[in-house]
Symmetry: C2
Subunit: 147 residues, 2 copies
């Protein structure tokens, strides 16, 4: 994907198709062991008795994979200065080995009041199952971008 040269190339409403990714079962277990060791992310039998009814990826894993996927796309490589925060919603759980697609939407963008060479953008990461289009992550990240 082409690297943006300036935040000024972005405008509210723009959308970028970032392709997709998958969380393989072994990675789901590894991630959960390290960062979110709860039974419904680690053990098939415990997961069956959880509210999920089956083993599901940690939402933190889905978000981490989305961040990694965005960074590796290269789109923001020349302009992303820092992140300030994020609002995360996991509308549905994601199962291991279930392919997802990712889109990036420009929800808001404005010039920084204190640093006019910088823009403050709210970028929406939308991750959905490729098969059904069910949204599994809706994240609104605050990005400080070079103009």
């Amino acid at each position: 994907m082409r690297a943006l040269r300036s935040a000024d190339e972005l405008a509210q409403g723009m959308e970028f198709d970032l392709g997709g990714f998958v969380l393989p079962r072994a990675e789901v277990l590894d991630f959960a062991r390290r960062w979110d060791p709860q039974p419904f992310h680690l053990d098939e039998e415990a997961a069956r008795q959880s509210v999920f009814g089956r083993l599901v990826a940690s939402g933190l894993h889905t978000y981490s994979a989305a961040v990694g996927h965005l960074i590796r796309s290269g789109l923001l490589a020349e302009i992303n200065l820092a992140g300030g925060g994020a609002e995360l919603i996991w509308p549905a759980p994601l199962e291991p080995d279930q392919p997802v697609t990712m889109r990036l939407q420009v929800a808001e963008i404005r010039t920084s009041r204190s640093k006019p060479e910088m823009a403050v953008a709210k970028l929406r990461y939308l991750v959905a199952t490729a098969a059904e289009g069910r949204v599994v992550l809706d994240a609104l990240g605050t990005h400080f971008l070079r103009r």
Copy 2:
């Protein structure tokens, strides 16, 4: 830490001291390579020329470590049914090897309208440097808890 037996043991305003943790330098680099491969998380020289002025941990790493730390504390082991979302703010960056403390505050808690056996809680994760008390993560997580 004692495992809560029911969400009914929680009330707005309660606070739990969860001790602390540290993100060792090797882990900061490993995490960034895998989930947030940006120069200011990976390379000392590039980081010096970034807005941070030195190498800093990925905010995603700080958040992941906080989630892992909370889960491993065991406090919610018997009552955490699922997470619904989170609002994350990184007020300041965290450097490798800088010890932090973590507190958990009950920001809101109510019985679920649709499932009276369940509570919906907003739990605030506050992670601050042990030396200066500078907040590096302020996260408000939505948790579905067993009553």
